[in-house]
């Protein structure tokens, strides 16, 4: 029996090693395949820099938009109960399961020229397809659920008693939110913004449907891969991954409570 016991322990460790290898080896190999010279050449490539900048810029915008529109809604979801709340919460999670090109197609269905909304937009000169605006719309669509869920959890973590006391002391609902809820939940909200941006910066399929140009970094990587092959796309991939990893690291450091930081 003792042998069987050790056997199971060994299995758990072996599986652990397999999973870790499966996840890290491709990334490590990709990093190592890019020579310093090709990397430094890529850093000087204006198209690359422009696309990475566009990625960072649009993903950040998605995070900021989610913050402004999502915060009041997340607060509503955290504090109030209403009929159909579970359905609303399920709908918020929908963008996470819709196949990526379908997201693009669905958004095009609304802003395309054969729909009144799209016609209005084109009449007032707003172009969604193939524009930065379009990219931001798509990235907000895929990133929003991450922000709302994180912010909602953050608000839930603030005792409603604190808000009750604040109200009893004369503060309105809005003052209470600004003076009590926000200072106590800002960490969760920041984590939410970063999660939203991280999800947005990694998106490809939805964006490529709406806007091949202007090129965000994942599209550029894909184009170079298609046109020139693996080794030419690797340095760009490495650079973009570094940006994402930085975001991810900040996220992790923020999401660890103060006293547990490593």
């Amino acid at each position: 029996m003792s042998n069987r016991r050790e056997f199971f322990t060994i299995v758990t460790v072996v599986c652990g090693v397999i999973v870790m290898g499966f996840i890290t080896l491709p990334l490590i190999k990709m990093f190592m395949s890019s020579s310093w010279s090709s990397l430094s050449a890529t850093v000087k490539d204006k198209d690359v820099l422009k696309s990475i900048w566009l990625s960072v810029y649009t993903a950040s915008l998605a995070g900021i938009i989610s913050f402004f529109v999502g915060t009041p809604f997340a607060y509503l979801l955290a504090r109030k109960d209403f009929p159909g709340k579970r359905i609303v919460e399920n709908i918020i999670d929908l963008p996470m399961v819709i196949p990526h090109p379908v997201v693009g197609i669905a958004i095009l269905s609304v802003v395309g020229r054969n729909y009144w909304f799209g016609q209005i937009l084109s009449r007032i000169g707003v172009r969604v397809m193939g524009s930065v605006l379009g990219i931001v719309v798509v990235l907000t669509f895929v990133g929003m659920p991450f922000y709302i869920n994180a912010a909602k959890d953050g608000f839930r973590g603030v005792s409603s008693r604190l808000e009750g006391v604040s109200r009893s002391l004369g503060a309105s609902l809005f003052s209470t939110f600004l003076r009590v809820t926000f200072p106590l939940a800002w960490r969760s909200m920041l984590v939410g913004i970063i999660m939203c941006s991280a999800r947005a910066i990694s998106e490809f399929g939805a964006v490529v449907v709406i806007a091949y140009h202007p090129m965000i970094a994942p599209v550029l990587i894909y184009e170079r891969f298609e046109a020139y092959g693996l080794s030419y796309s690797q340095p760009v991939a490495v650079l973009l991954t570094l940006v994402c990893l930085t975001l991810f690291l900040v996220l992790r450091i923020l999401s660890v409570p103060k006293d547990l930081k490593i």
């Binding site: 009750g164 006391v165 009893s168 004369g170």
Partner: protein, 351 residues
Amino acid sequence: MIKIENLYINFPGFSLKDINLSIEKGEFFVLLGPTGAGKTVLLETIVGLVPVKKGRIYIEGVDVTKEPPEKRRIGIVYQDCALFPHLTVLKNIKYGLHFNKQGSSESLKRLHRLVEQLRLHSILQRLPVNLSGGEMKRVALARALVINPSILLLDEPLSALDPNFKEEIREELKRIHQKTGITFFMVTHDFTDVLYLATKAAVMNEGKIEQVGDVTDIFQRPSSSFVANFLGAKNIFRGNMIKKDDRTFVDTGGTVIEVASNLRKIEGRVYFTVRPEDIIISQRPFSSSARNCYPGKVVEVINRGEVFYVTADIGERMTALITKASFEEMDLREGDRVFLSFKATAVHLFI
């Protein structure tokens, strides 16, 4: 002054049924009841955090049923204090002053007075996480009092405190109530709080008020078997404390009883209890370390098998617990003359 009329609240998990209460200005009102009776819900309804669908609430004669909490000027002190964890003690206390600008110099004076009264000087710059249980309560009290509320609601302010702190905060509450004249509305399930603090009390069960009235009324004349069982205390008396020479006595009107008191308070109204098992019944008086020995007449005998509850009238009706053997040996009957003795240390005072 608080008046509640035909209040109903119905939520999944809790409900209030037909609450009618009227509390005079300056009263120290205590609400008793088992956990889950709806005491905290009633508190939060009064402060305005639970929306009311049916019924009315009046504060100082004004119907506030639909008013938001920030317009009611009611202070609330939760059991867990609910201090703002991101603000220092000073900022916690000053919080309410941002929204209540009425005579800011007066407010500041009140702030200073409270800081002094509640001995908060040395901790003003600390964050709540660094406070002891007693300090947290004092800060929560100061924060609620600084806006000079017309009513102070207290949700079990003394539970979850160490015995020392409990004593201290209890005295603080009494002192503040006497000084400010604010109406206090306190939820508890500790009888000591009731006897020590309350001028009036109510017992609540399953969302309903079972009984309202004077404290002695509730303890001595429970209106329902629930109240009787819930309170379950025998031998509760009220009297006036008197110091004579070095000794302390309580005059209940019916009798005078010696107590072992090392308390500062010299005179005044007190409650006290004597446990039935601490009372000795004898057929002759005797002198011993039992300070109290009173002649009386047996008025009731309750047989509980191996033990008997014997109630004698010694000016007050007092109940003793004795064994079957004692009972049989003394051959007690209703109407017999007996002596009840108990030690002064067996008298539990609530001053």
